[in-house]
């Protein structure tokens, strides 16, 4: 298995490098500092979501409700401020909502043992529906003067680097530390590798699974705040978009096997860079939207096939409902 796993990451990295070199040589204005910053800024939110998804996928789960966590709690912040509440109270309410949402997800998956795919599919619909029906007046929640200053989270600069990139970097370091340097991180890998083995060894698997979904929802909410600050509004309709597939694309493309227990932050970064390069290059080449989707779809398909070839399902521990 050893050389093959290096092969998986290696292939993706080679594709990224090849694509990058080709674009740099053939596309005028691609390989400039400014365009590189734009490239990174455009995929920063996607990368942060990829980190959230990575935490869950490494623990052998999946979180389809991530986009609901991205859209609804930050939308609540914007709506509450618009209605005249203070920013701190609104943020607190959003974080409480996110935490509750992650807890419910985690409880259903860890204790009620509902497969993560179905749980998060349903809970995401629920949260998005709750937002539309009860929390927001319109599906695009507009910026209001009470939030002035907060937009720096998405539009400001730190030493010339746009804030979304800085936030992505901080998230990468934090998640890498969690996964590689803490006991919780080691437990997540153990659960992803073999949940029953992990439980027999004495690892508190259920609380750790709950924690994974709470963390994912929290990171999703943070990504949503950055997105909202960056476009001066929260288009909650984003829940209906194909963003969740892009997130899965980043994770799988980067080489984090959907069967769990493998991969890390580096994989998310590679996946994000490849997507960013593809999107940026295709935009510069002015390829039509359907053409872009076609190319993205083919790349995802190749990635999934490669993944199942290089990271086969563990027949001893796989069960119905796993993906």
């Amino acid at each position: 298995m050893g050389p093959r796993r290096i092969g998986q990451q290696g292939i993706v990295f080679a594709v990224f490098t090849a694509l990058f070199v080709v674009f740099a040589l053939t596309l005028r204005g691609f390989f400039t500092t400014e365009n590189m910053l734009t490239l990174l800024q455009n995929v920063a939110v996607l990368g942060i979501l990829g980190l959230a998804m990575a935490i869950v996928v490494i623990g052998r789960g999946i979180d389809i409700s991530l986009i609901a966590a991205l859209a609804v709690p930050p939308g609540l912040v914007l709506q509450m401020v618009q209605d005249g509440h203070g920013l701190p109270i609104s943020l607190a309410a959003a974080f409480a909502l996110t935490a509750a949402f992650g807890l419910v997800n985690g409880w259903l998956i860890a204790y009620a043992e509902v497969p993560s795919l179905f749980t998060t599919l349903a809970s995401g619909l629920f949260l998005a529906g709750l937002g539309q029906a009860a929390l927001f007046k319109l599906d695009v929640v507009q910026w209001s003067p009470g939030l002035d200053g907060f937009e720096r989270l998405g539009q400001g600069n730190l030493l010339g680097i746009p804030m979304p990139i800085v936030m992505f970097a901080i998230s990468c370091i934090a998640v890498a530390f969690l996964l590689r340097r803490t006991r919780i991180g080691a437990y997540i890998y153990a659960i992803g590798d073999n949940p029953y083995g992990a439980r027999v060894t004495g690892i508190p698997t259920r609380p750790i699974i709950v924690l994974q979904y709470v963390l994912a929802a929290m990171i999703g909410c943070a990504a949503g705040l950055i997105l909202a600050a960056s476009v001066n509004s929260m288009p909650t309709r984003i829940f209906n978009s194909t963003l969740i597939y892009d997130v899965i694309l980043v994770v799988v493309l980067g080489g984090i096997g959907l069967s769990g227990g493998r991969g890390g932050v580096a994989n998310v970064i590679i996946g994000t860079l490849l997507i960013g390069t593809m999107l940026n290059g295709m935009t510069i080449m002015d390829i039509s939207y359907s053409g872009q989707n076609l190319i993205k779809g083919v790349v995802l398909l190749i990635a999934v096939i490669t993944d199942s070839f290089l990271n086969p399902r563990n027949e001893e521990t796989a069960q119905q409902g796993d993906i």
């Binding site: 997105l227 476009v231 209906n240 002015d286 039509s288 939207y289 359907s290």
Partner: protein, 340 residues
């Protein structure tokens, strides 16, 4: 006959008239029955108007719904809504179910040109009036009330072309979703104007899927490649918040002319023009559209004509929102006021 004789006669008649009026006060105070209002009220009372937008929860569809209710409910008309929430399938199902429920009128906001066309024809054959709004289908029904997308594309592009005079002549186009006919029609309008201005160079024409974040990403990349861009034609203000944010971040507000269109809700339109995010926002003034829809309902139902036997259009007169009128009370509308 002489003039004086006439005058005398006139005076005489007036005198008799006055005397007569004074003599029979009871007759003059008796009201006159207007022969048509009773039938009008009767034709409307208890009727159902079914409203099927592509989705609720955004300024246009919420505004139309509030306007329809405000105009029609006082006459005893029941306004019901079926919300397909962006699902074309769910919408087609809703329309099919409504045909068997037989409302008097269906107010339909098409997701595309084809999907509902056959269903709407069937509805009119069954005697249900169909009013299509803002997005027509290939079937022409009793009435169409809505924006003329070709005109929107033309006027936005004309404004951008004008702003580009003496500059780089490079423009970008941020389209909506490719499947949406509103986007395709607007693009046709853009092409019409570009055909007349061959010196204008389109450096990018991409679909952002009505998504502000995508619009921002595209605009950022385009601006990095073409910092001398002189104008952007956007297809919807809700999405072009992202376009404008990219222009602002590049420090090009005021240098890149951003033209867009939308329903004219205050936060989404006037506030953003005032802040300089948009230079032109063509508004199809949702409250007026709603009034015209309600007007069509009243006219069709009270006329008693056979559904589908007459067909007409009511294209919305656009309100161009610019710095000059963005601060006025009348250029934009508030959803909260309409819902009162």
């Amino acid at each position: 006959m002489t003039i004086s004789k006439w005058t005398t006669l006139k005076t005489l008649f007036v005198g008799i008239g006055l005397a007569g009026a004074a003599a029979s006060p009871a007759l003059a105070q008796k009201g006159l029955d207007e022969p048509f209002q009773g039938a009008f009220k009767e034709s409307l009372a208890g009727k159902t108007v079914a409203y099927v937008p592509v989705a609720m929860n955004f300024d246009l569809t919420e505004g139309w719904f509030a306007g329809l209710k405000k105009e029609l409910e006082p006459y005893g008309v029941k306004v019901i809504v079926r919300d397909p929430n962006w699902s074309t399938n769910a919408g087609a199902q809703a329309v099919t179910t409504l045909i068997s429920e037989k409302p008097a009128v269906m107010v339909i906001h098409n997701p595309d040109v084809q999907t509902y066309a056959k269903l709407l024809q069937r509805a009119e054959n069954e005697g249900i009036y169909v009013i299509q709004i803002n997005m027509g289908s290939s079937y022409r029904s009793s009435a169409f009330v809505g924006a003329n997308w070709i005109e929107i594309g033309e006027r936005d592009t004309e404004a951008v072309v004008k702003a580009c005079q003496g500059k780089s002549n490079k423009i970008a186009i941020i389209q909506g979703a490719l499947s949406a006919a509103a986007s395709a029609y607007t693009l046709k309008g853009v092409e019409n104007v570009l055909a007349k201005n061959p010196d204008i160079k389109v450096v990018s024409s991409q679909a952002a899927d009505w998504d502000a974040a995508k619009a921002k990403a595209i605009t950022q990349t385009v601006l990095k490649q073409n910092p001398d861009l002189c104008g952007i034609v956007g297809f919807w203000d809700g999405m072009d918040i992202g376009t404008a944010a990219a222009v602002k971040e590049a420090g090009l507000t005021g240098k890149v002319f951003v033209a867009t269109s939308g329903g004219g809700e205050r936060r989404g339109a006037c506030e953003l023009v005032k802040s300089g995010a948009f230079d032109l926002n063509l508004s199809y003034d949702v409250p007026t559209q709603a009034e015209q829809m309600a007007g069509m309902v009243k006219w069709l139902v009270s006329s008693g004509v056979k559904a589908g036997s007459i067909k007409g259009s009511m294209y919305t007169t656009l309100i161009p929102i610019t710095k000059e009128n963005a601060a006025s009370d009348t250029a934009c509308w508030n959803l909260s006021d309409l819902k009162k």
